[in-house]
């Protein structure tokens, strides 16, 4: 059974139909990259997956449960789906370690010492342990994004969503973040990643999805999609992206 199954997903903002009919299923441990032109609804799709946007229609089945049902516990669900944003969104008034331990302590009622120990291990893992006690404003973008990943992992999610995690970064900082994500993928984390990093997509992803006009236009392995795209729109998009 798929970990996440999305059926007939639609999302409109007033008159604007952003997602028209999206059907995707994601297996446990699978790494999915989402590509597509600007405005094609990639962020909207990802945000629907943890209900930062409420879908207009459709079903999202997580672990056998429809998360769009009225009585579904959204907060509980969000704990099992971590999200990383393009602009990191670290809490600026907390130290790096507090950013990581804040939600586990508040939401999961973890003991402070336990959360701190776990937090330090996660910071170690993303290579940020030496910055545990500084404030986010003193960090580079790449460092902030790695802390944001640690923060999301601290909730022990079963799946991670990344919305262009490296596109706000200076080019020389992109690699560190991608390496962390690569390790995460190796450990078997289920991931959905919106990215323009085609190298990362090719090396790490199990599946690539090309979205355009509110539909999934093409859904295949990254190798297949990059070397031999079926759809004309995929071809046009890839030739533009890969030539830059």
């Amino acid at each position: 059974m798929a970990l996440l199954e999305i059926k007939g997903l639609q999302k409109s903002f007033g008159e604007l139909k952003v997602l028209r009919d999206v059907n995707i299923s994601i297996e446990e441990g699978e790494v999915l990259v989402l590509i597509g032109p600007s405005g094609s609804g990639k962020s909207t799709f990802l945000r629907c997956l943890n209900l930062l946007e409420t879908p207009t229609a459709g079903e999202i089945i997580f672990d056998g449960q429809n998360i769009l049902e009225k009585k579904f516990d959204i907060k509980k669900y969000r704990q099992s789906v971590g999200m990383c944003f393009q602009r990191f969104n670290l809490f600026p008034f907390m130290t790096v370690l507090d950013n990581v331990t804040f939600a586990p302590c508040l939401v999961k009622k973890e003991k402070k010492e336990v959360a701190r120990k776990k937090g330090m291990e996660l910071l170690e893992k993303v290579g940020m342990a030496q910055k545990a006690n500084v404030y986010p404003s003193t960090l580079s973008g790449g460092q902030q994004q790695r802390v944001a990943i640690a923060r999301a992992l601290a909730m022990e999610p079963r799946m991670m969503l990344f919305d262009e995690p490296t596109s706000a970064l200076d080019p020389e900082l992109v690699g560190d973040v991608l390496n962390v994500m690569r390790d995460l993928a190796k450990e078997g984390m289920t991931m959905a990643v919106v990215t323009h990093e085609m190298g990362f997509a090719r090396d790490v992803a199990d599946r690539a999805i090309f979205m355009d006009g509110g539909y999934v236009v093409e859904d295949s392995s990254p190798q297949e999609m990059f070397t031999n795209p079926k759809n004309e729109r995929t071809k046009a998009f890839l030739s533009r992206v890969l030539n830059n």
């Binding site: 930062l52 971590g82 809490f91 008034f93 944001a148």
Partner: protein
């Protein structure tokens, strides 16, 4: 000229200053501190009501704010001091207590009037500070499994509050000066005390010059302190 020949600053200093720095400064400090703390509490509650999704609550608060901002502080003080006790007596009459008599101490009226007036202006400061916090902060909090309320109170409001502190400072200095309006409702603050002194001694020039000096001696250092706090808080921001 007679006025100049009779100038006697030494006498005015000796007699008026102890009065000003006796009971009068007690009143000014009390109204300033208590009024200002209450104003922040009121401002905070009004701001919360304004950013809430509750349309009715929102409407009530907007009307209230318009009333407060559309009338002078002096009129509000007079209203609290003279009218509110009468209204309460009327209310008690209808509740079956016709003998109920109410007097409002001037200082209490001052604190109530000041805190409501300043609370209303401060509420707009806090509200815009809340709205100015990046939406991404709330989203990150929600994505971590916080409830909307937790995201508001644990993530957004601490930042909004911190960003508001420098503006609070400016209001604090204004409030100190506005305590002079309480002379109109019989509070023995600086202005009232000075006025009483001149009517006994006719040392008009001396007294009011000293009065102005006293305000400056309090307000200028306070304003400098506010600037200093502002600088520190700007430095600690990202």
């Amino acid at each position: 000229m007679e006025v100049l020949e009779n100038l006697d600053f030494a006498k005015a200093f000796k007699e008026l200053l102890p009065e000003l720095f006796g009971e009068a400064i007690g009143i000014v400090v009390t109204v300033t501190i208590v009024g200002f703390l209450l104003a922040i509490v009121i401002g905070f509650l009004l701001a919360l009501a304004r950013v809430s999704k509750n349309k009715i609550l929102n409407g009530i608060v907007v009307v209230f704010q318009e009333i407060i901002r559309g009338t002078p502080l002096l009129v509000q003080l007079v209203y609290v001091f003279y009218v509110v006790p009468l209204l309460i007596e009327v209310l008690m009459y209808f509740l079956g207590k016709p003998d109920f008599k109410m007097t409002m101490p001037a200082v209490t009226a001052g604190i109530i009037g000041m805190s409501i007036n300043y609370g209303t202006y401060i509420s707009e400061v806090i509200r815009s500070a809340i709205l100015a916090i990046d939406q991404g902060q709330t989203e990150a909090a929600l994505a971590l499994g916080l409830s909307k309320r937790q995201a508001m109170f644990r993530i957004v409001i601490p930042q909004a509050f911190k960003n508001s502190i420098p503006v609070f400072g400016n209001y604090l200095v204004m409030l100190v000066k506005d305590t002079s309006l309480m002379a109109y409702i019989t509070a023995q603050e600086f202005l009232m005390t000075t006025k009483a002194y001149t009517s006994q001694t006719f040392l008009t020039i001396e007294s009011y010059t000293i009065l102005a000096g006293v305000y400056l001696v309090i307000c200028i250092p306070l304003a400098l302190l506010v600037k200093y706090v502002e600088r520190i808080s700007n430095k600690s921001k990202r």
